[in-house]
Structure formats: C-alpha cells, structure tokens
C-alpha cells in the first residue's frame, strides 16, 4: 500500500515568471510535466510516489496570476491568489461573503496561507483507493474499487456517478458555481472561458479528469460577476472533524429576494458527486416562491431525488436534504 515517505522522487523544477513561459514549459513536457500551485495536493501525490512527474512547473513566481482586482463586472481573481487573501479581502467579504465563507472552511489557517483558489478547485479527488495507487478507472484502469459491495465508501458519491464514485473535494467549488463564476483557461494557442458548472466534469464525460483542464491547459483567472453581489448567501459544510477535514457534504446557495420571496436562486452542493452539483430542480421550485417550512422541506426532498447511496454512505441523503432545507429556510 502507499506509504508516505520523507523523500520524494527527483524531478526537474521550473519556476517561470510569466504565463507564456509556463505554457511553453507545459507544452514542452506534455504529460510528463506537473503544474504546481500551492503544492498541497501535489506533494501528497509525490510523497506517495503515485505520481512521478519528470518536470514540475511551479507557478509561484508568476505575479500576474496573483491578487484580486475590481473588474468591469465584478471581481477578477488570479488563480494563484491564496485562500487567506480571499478570506480577508474587503470586497469579497462585503459583497461575496459566500466565497469568503467557503474559502474559510478549507482545512487549516496554515493550509489556507499556502493553498490557492486555482489549486483548490483543480485538486484531485481524495478517494483512497485512487490515491493509494490502485489501477482504478480514474487512474487509467478498469475497476472502481470503491463501488464494490465490500468497499469502504462512506465518503463517496451518491449521485452523478458513472463507474467512478469519487467525490470532488473542493470547498470553494460549490460557492463558485452558486456565484456563476467564469473560469479563464489558457493554452498555448487558445484561451477559453468556462462557466463554473461547466469547468467541472464528471466521469461520464472523462473518467480520468475532474475539470476541463487537459495537459497544456492553465487556469489563470476566476471572475465573479456582479450579478450575484450582495445576494442572500448560505454556506454550510459538514465534516467529521470540525478543525480540519474535507467535507462530507457542503451546500452553497445564492438567493435574490424580495422580502420573504425568492426571486432567483443558484444552489450547489459538493461532496455528493464527482463534481459540484447544481440543483436546477430545487432552483425551479423556489424561484418566485414565498419561503416557509413546507417549501424548505420540499426543496430538501427534491434535492436528493435520483441519488443512490453506496453501501456505507446512505447518511449523505438526509444530510444533503437537510443542508438544502436549511439553505432555503435561511431566506425566511
């Protein structure tokens, strides 16, 4: 089994100072290259010796990827902006507290000092079968060991699965979906902007990736449009250990309200699927509705429709239902 060792295998380290240089290095090394942001996901892989890149391209020296600026329509956040900067940023806290809340729920202060927003949303799943070096579907093999009847799958997915049942581990991802964030992805010859909910992909589309990022692609910027600024927000993360843990289930919701009535809503949950799940059916239910307990209960019930638990994670259904119920109830 995988054992975390003190020494990681040798690799060639590159520290570019511009995005262009980073892209050139990524193109040069192809699948043998590894893009390093905060390193909190990467070094686990390296120490476990499951990933052995030939070259590591450290983005830490690229200033243009850092910081938060006021854009023409909302905020423009560099992918290498640390989670602590996001938590402390004045405008994020005043207009987009949902994102600050989510970022503040990531791990520990030390990790938030080092971890970046781009890294947090691009990190790989924590499924231990996958992380331990099993040749599962996600690792290029032909079996999901976590979906087997004998598997330990308490933390795994209850919806959105397709052969692989791993969950997306990011705390900030559902908040970005709820805020309708836009992700700028640059390659050597192209630049594309993705809606946050399209940035994350499920195993039905590509079982080896969690995002649209392919070798040679670099997430450079996350834009938070002003449309949802100062909305009514709700974020909640349930985890085994309050001080430091990945979510079991989390919910991020943004509501535009008139008094007790929800005019518009975007609700996303994470920890239940291989990607943050936007709850379209719940959004349709609550739009135009006056919030009361009955609505909140119905929203919670609709949220889990179609979900199917594995052997050890049935608890996620009521947990997800309750979190959605609480999110809707928070408007009242």
């Amino acid at each position: 089994m995988a054992i975390i060792r003190d020494m990681i295998p040798a690799f060639e380290l590159f520290q570019p100072t511009t995005v262009e240089d980073a892209l050139a290095l990524m193109a040069e090394h192809g699948e043998g290259g590894w893009v390093l942001a905060g390193g909190l996901d990467s070094y686990d892989w390296f120490k476990d010796r499951i990933k052995r890149p030939e070259a590591v391209i450290d983005l830490g020296g690229i200033d243009e990827l850092k910081g938060i600026i006021d854009g023409q329509d909302g905020l423009e956040i560099g992918a290498m902006t640390t989670l602590t900067e996001i938590v402390r940023h004045e405008r994020v806290r005043s207009e987009y507290i949902l994102l600050a809340d989510a970022a503040e729920h990531v791990a520990t202060p030390q990790i938030r000092n080092q971890g970046t927003l781009g890294g947090n949303i691009s990190q790989d799943t924590r499924c231990w079968y996958y992380r331990s070096g099993w040749a599962c579907y996600r690792a290029g093999g032909n079996t999901c060991y976590a979906a087997a009847p004998q598997a330990m799958n308490r933390e795994h997915a209850i919806t959105g699965t397709s052969r692989c049942v791993a969950v997306n581990p990011s705390d900030t991802a559902p908040a970005l979906v709820a805020l309708d964030a836009k992700m700028t992805v640059r390659g050597r010859r192209s630049s594309n902007v993705y809606d946050a909910e399209d940035f994350f992909i499920g195993p039905a589309t590509d079982i080896t990736r969690m995002t649209v990022l392919e070798p040679g692609d670099l997430l450079t910027q996350i834009d938070i449009p002003s449309e949802w600024a100062n909305a009514h927000f709700y974020y909640e993360k349930v985890r085994d250990r309050g001080s430091w843990d990945f979510q079991l289930v989390s919910v991020a919701a943004a509501f535009k309200t008139s008094g007790n009535t929800i005019d518009d809503a975007r609700i996303a949950v994470n920890g239940v699927a291989p990607f943050p799940v936007r709850l379209d059916a719940v959004e349709r239910l609550v739009k135009g509705a006056a919030v009361d307990e009955a609505l909140a209960i119905e929203a919670g019930e609709i949220a889990i429709q179609g979900s199917r638990p594995l052997k050890h994670n049935e608890y996620k259904q009521p947990m997800m239902s309750n979190l959605v119920r609480r999110a809707v109830r928070s408007v009242a």
Binding site: A135, N142, C144, A148, S162, R163, T205, D206
Partner: protein, 314 residues
C-alpha cells in the same frame, strides 16, 4: 504485446492487464482506410468496373416479375435498427477517445441493449421464418473458387450466387463471431455499471474462476492477479470493438459502391428489379415467380418471404 495491451501497476507493483491500448484503435482506423483504398485500386486494376457494366443478362424473363422482393419489411427494420445501434456503439466507444468528449456510457449500454434485442429477434425470425442455413452454409469448393478469383485474374469467374453471395455469407459469419464476443463481454462490463436493472458489482468471481480453473483441491489452477480476469474481458471487448471498426467500414464501403448499390436499394426499398436479378443472381439458386420466392434448392437461396409453387422456367 505491451504496445497493443494496456497494463497498470497495482499498489504492490504488479503489472495487471487492463485492456487494449489506444493505439489499437488507430491501427483499426488505419486498416479500414487501407482496405478501402486498397480495394479501390485492386478493383480498378482488375477491370471489374467494365465487367460489371457488361454483366451478362441471360435467362428468360417469363414468370419473373419486374420487382423481386429481396428483404421483407421486418428484415429491413431489423437490419437498420441493428445498423443504427452498431453505429451508436462505435461512435460512443471511440469518438470520445479521439477527443470529442461527451457522456457516452449510458448511451453506449442502451445501444448495446438495443443490439442484443435486435439480434434475439433476428435469430428467432431467421430460424422460424427464414431459411436459416442458406445464410450459414459454407461450401469449400465455392470458397476455393472465390479465393482463386480474388488472387488471379486468369482464374474462372465464380458462378452466380443465390440470394446471398459467398462474400456476404462470410461477412455475416465474421460479424456473428465478433459481435457475440463484443456482446458477451459487454454484458459482463455492464454488470459493473449503474443501470436500472441491477446494482453494479466490480468483481467477476465466476469469470476469475473460469479463467483460472480449479485443480483437484478446488484451488485456482492458474494464478490470476486480482483484476486480471477483468482485464481479459476488457481485452476481448476492445479487440472486438476495433475489429468492428474495420468490418463496419468495409460494410458501408461496399454498400455505397456504385456496382453494389442494388444491394443497398434492396435493403432500403425491399426489392431489386428484374434486370439486376438476372445480372447478378442465379435463378436456379434463388428462384422467383410473380414476386414470390421459391423454396431454395440445396445450398442455394434463402426464403425471405412467402414460399410458392416451383417456378416454371424455360
């Protein structure tokens, strides 16, 4: 072998067979292109196109209708449903690997289920309502004659066939073997994914046992690594899949060739005309009177429609 088969390491560093490599798909695509181009060149070099134009139309037209039923409506519905499901299976299997990503798994297994249902229908239909052995027959002399003719322009031209020419029957036999391999392994693979019919199970105890066998002590006779049986299933499915790329490409190529297009029209409209019938088929092996189809003589035609009294021929 490593070039065509895909192995991955398990946590103990053992290399475990996973399936076929992506390169096999590119090889199959290359072979399909090579076959089509090669056949075009070969066909032209042998002067078959001229030959087709001057195909000898012999025999009396007495009693032979203007339109001869070749495929009944149920046969055509089967063919096109099966063809559509096969195309969907190939597209959903290989297009994502070529870079156009979409959620393919559900579409793939549903298309597979449609294929299985059409084949079950076809088997029952062909046994109970058609002349089953006319398509399944194999004659060594006929085979030798065809291969000689393929290899040498000096060899005697094979006799005109009955309803199903030799190459059609051989293609059918090939596609039966390859499709069955794909279907059996595909069903085993589908047991591992979520469907409305069962809970997924990633393990194949029976397949493991079948592959490894048991010795007199009831222990596995051959050591199979955990996941190795799965790898064999994936390999067979993968090989069948890439073989189908070549076979389906060849089938489409022959269907749209101008000199073979009467087969395509026959499969679309259900009939061919008298001229095509007399030019390409032996009335003694596929005898037709007044739009109905006769009982086939031994080793001859298939009865795809109603059977009538013996044809009065000159």
């Amino acid at each position: 072998m490593g070039r065509w088969l895909d192995f991955e390491s398990n946590p103990w560093g053992q290399e475990v067979l996973q399936g076929v490599s992506l390169e096999l798909m590119y090889l199959a695509i290359g072979l399909a292109v090579l076959f089509v181009v090669g056949h075009l060149v070969w066909y032209r070099s042998r002067g078959f196109s001229e030959h087709e134009k001057t195909a000898d139309i012999q025999g009396s037209v007495a009693g032979i209708p203007e339109r001869i039923v070749r495929h009944t409506l149920p046969s055509r519905i089967f063919h096109w449903t099966m063809g559509a499901s096969m195309l969907v299976l190939l597209i959903t299997a290989f297009v994502p690997l070529l870079g156009l990503e979409f959620a393919w798994v559900t579409i793939h297994w549903i298309a597979g289920a449609v294929l299985i249902l059409t084949i079950i229908y076809h088997v029952i239909h062909s046994i109970l309502w058609q002349d089953f052995w006319s398509m399944m027959s194999f004659n060594v002399r006929e085979a030798i004659g065809h291969f000689r003719h393929l290899l040498s322009s000096k060899s005697t031209e094979p006799e005109k066939p009955g309803k199903y020419p030799f190459d059609h029957r051989m293609y059918h036999q090939g596609i039966v073997v390859v499709s069955l391999a794909a279907i059996v392994t595909g069903v085993l693979m589908t047991l591992r994914i979520k469907t409305p019919f069962w809970e997924p199970n990633a393990y194949y105890p029976l397949v493991d046992q079948a592959i490894s066998g048991l010795n007199e002590l009831g222990e596995p006779a051959i050591t199979v690594l955990p996941g190795e049986a799965t790898g064999f299933v994936f390999v067979i499915h993968g090989i069948a899949g890439v073989a189908l790329i070549v076979m389906v490409a060849a089938h489409i190529y022959f269907a749209i060739r101008p000199d073979k297009r009467y087969y395509l029209w026959g499969m679309i409209r259900g009939w061919i005309d008298r001229k095509q019938y007399l030019a390409h088929f032996d009335p003694d092996k596929w005898s037709v009177v007044d739009g109905t189809i006769q009982e086939s003589p031994p080793g001859g035609a298939i009865a795809d429609s109603t059977v009538s009294a013996p044809r009065v021929d000159d």
